[in-house]
């Protein structure tokens, strides 16, 4: 055992001087939410770091929908799941087809499609939301889950196509040539060669689209309004309409709502970060 030198201690101290504030800054709002979720109503406002009587009663109330604000909790939870999964599936379908066409089939004008798609991200989200709301009205989709699903597909697809194109450019051309020599048609090429090889990227993109749709607030809030049609974040926002809204229940619901994306993120972290990093180095 060698004792650390003074210099090493200094470096470590300096790092801690950054690390501790970063830790507090990151965790305080999240911990505050968690604290509310496990505190009985009268404890929640005491300003203690740990409640005197931690309880899971708030979760019980939420799960049994025992409050006016929570009367549609399960159906809203279900709406969130359906919309997230549908947006994820549809994004995967559309983006994989487009990436295959652009990268493997070299469709004429493919580069243009790619650039146009990325242009979507140069329109600030809230700016697109205003005309999008009216457009959905014109299409007769307002208050229909499809409006939110399609809006999410619109926003998720460009990134999805870009990442998938990047990944499929790396697959050797000889693969396609060999398959074609053996008499594979293009649908077979897609199904039997392309999709299996692209699996890791497809998992990442599917996860990305699901998280995007699950986390979305603004579009959900604009496009859906009926209590039994809205998703969880919109329901959380509706808590704010009343002054006497039960904070501890709001935070409990929020905590339940935030858990799946956090869990999914950590489960798929390897894929997600890989996809992001590929983008960063390119730019």
């Amino acid at each position: 055992m060698k004792l650390p030198t003074l210099r090493e201690v200094g470096v470590e101290a300096r790092l801690l001087l950054i690390g501790i504030p970063v830790f507090l800054w990151t965790m305080i709002p999240i911990y505050h939410m968690f604290l509310f979720a496990i505190s009985p109503k009268e404890d929640a406002f005491s300003g203690k770091l740990w409640p005197a009587h931690p309880t899971l009663n708030n979760f019980r109330i939420v799960f049994h929908q025992e409050h006016y604000f929570l009367r549609d909790f399960w159906i809203q939870f279900w709406n969130s799941i359906v919309i997230a999964l549908a947006a994820g599936a549809l994004t995967l379908l559309i983006a994989t087809a487009a990436a295959f066409a652009i990268s493997r089939l070299k469709v004429p004008g493919g580069r243009w499609v790619m650039n146009l798609a990325l242009f979507t991200y140069f329109i600030p989200a809230a700016f697109l939301a205003v005309p999008m709301y009216r457009t959905m009205g014109n299409y007769g989709l307002l208050n229909n889950h499809w409006s939110l699903i399609l809006a999410m597909v619109t926003i998720a697809s460009p990134y999805a196509i870009w990442v998938l194109k990047q990944a499929s450019d790396k697959l050797p051309v000889e693969l396609d040539e060999a398959a074609t020599m053996d008499g594979a048609t293009i649908p077979q090429l897609f199904r039997l060669v392309y999709v299996p090889l692209m699996m890791p990227s497809l998992v990442a993109i599917g996860t990305y689209a699901i998280l995007l749709a699950w986390n979305e607030y603004l579009y959900a809030f604009l496009l859906l309004s009926k209590d039994t049609e809205i998703t969880l974040p919109v329901a959380l926002g509706n808590f704010l309409a009343a002054d006497d809204s039960p904070w501890e229940l709001l935070m409990t619901t929020g905590f339940i709502y935030a858990l799946p994306p956090a869990a999914i993120y950590y489960a798929f972290k390897r894929y997600m970060v890989g996809g992001l990093t590929a983008g960063a180095v390119k730019s």
Binding site: L15, V22, H32, L93, F122, F127, V130, R134, Y139, Y217
Partner: protein, 290 residues
């Protein structure tokens, strides 16, 4: 592909299907769903929105609406202060997280949380923390000093600063991650050579890190500006635009007009931001197409 459509009317080329190879036909079929989505949900809304914003009367109305002027100023403050602060912190932290230490690795796992979890519960959590009557912050201030804490979200300046803070809290992990990848891509040999030459920490940053990160940093800043213009949640969920509509930014103002059924005003307020957005888009396009 030698046959092109010239002015020759008498001898039309073979039909389109004959000039395309099978893969190309399939390519068009496969790219079509996305193009349909793009046309229906990007091109049409943008065109329709611009068409709705065509009346000069809307701009006159905006000009006379004090909330609009305030929102425009707020947006500018939000962008200039918020983004520069955020990117500078991200640059600093990217160096911190690039250190190889087990505890820093653990911290980085936690650090990503604000970005990974949805914004509404966490922003509402911050909102409750700063509630003047029951919030934890003022409860603590009362316990420690016996005085009532400030009425945080009721002061427009404080409220806007806090909205900026929430925005930074939410998006800092993402930009730190991006800048960290840029930093890790710098060859380690350069630092070793500098070490041999006795370069100080500041010199290493100035002559190695910064020159190699400059382009990425600028791209990130521009992109973040465009995205932050569309940041509705940070302001809406924290302050709701209040007190007295003094903390609106263009993103929340457009939605506010929309909720008040003044669609042409909503679009006009967005069009007013275009002189600012278009140069950003132009620079981004130029950078990305290089």
């Amino acid at each position: 592909m030698a046959i092109t459509i010239s002015g020759d009317q008498a001898m039309p080329g073979p039909p389109l299907s004959a000039r395309l190879t099978t893969p190309q036909v399939w390519g068009i079929v496969l790219v079509a769903p996305y193009l349909l989505v793009f046309l229906a949900f990007v091109v049409y809304p943008v065109g329709y929105g611009l068409w709705l914003a065509r009346h000069p009367a809307s701009y006159v109305a905006l000009y006379h609406d004090p909330i609009f002027a305030r929102a425009a100023v707020n947006t500018l403050i939000f962008l200039l202060v918020g983004i520069n602060l955020k990117m500078m912190i991200a640059l600093l932290l990217s160096g911190f997280f690039a250190q190889q230490r087990p505890w820093i690795k653990w911290l980085s796992v936690l650090f990503i949380l604000p970005w990974a979890v949805p914004s509404i519960p966490t922003i509402l959590s911050v909102r409750f923390m700063f509630n003047p009557e029951w919030g934890v912050v003022n409860t603590l201030i009362f316990k420690l000093t016996g005085d009532d804490g400030p009425n945080w979200l009721n002061d427009p300046t404080v409220a806007l600063s806090m909205a900026i803070g929430v925005h930074i809290w939410k998006s800092l992990p993402f930009w730190t991650l991006i800048l960290m990848t840029g930093r890790l891509a710098i060859s380690h040999d350069l630092y070793e050579a500098a070490e041999v030459d006795g370069a100080s920490r500041t010199q290493k940053f100035r002559f190695i890190t910064w020159p190699s990160m400059q382009a990425l940093y600028l791209t990130c800043t521009l992109l973040s500006m465009i995205w932050t213009l569309g940041d509705f949640n940070s302001v809406y969920l924290l302050t709701g635009g209040g007190p007295a509509d003094l903390t609106h930014v263009l993103a929340t103002l457009g939605i506010r007009y929309l909720r008040l059924d003044q669609l042409s005003l909503a679009m006009a307020s967005i069009v007013c931001a275009l002189p600012f957005v278009l140069p950003l888009i132009y620079f981004m396009m130029k950078r990305l197409s290089r």
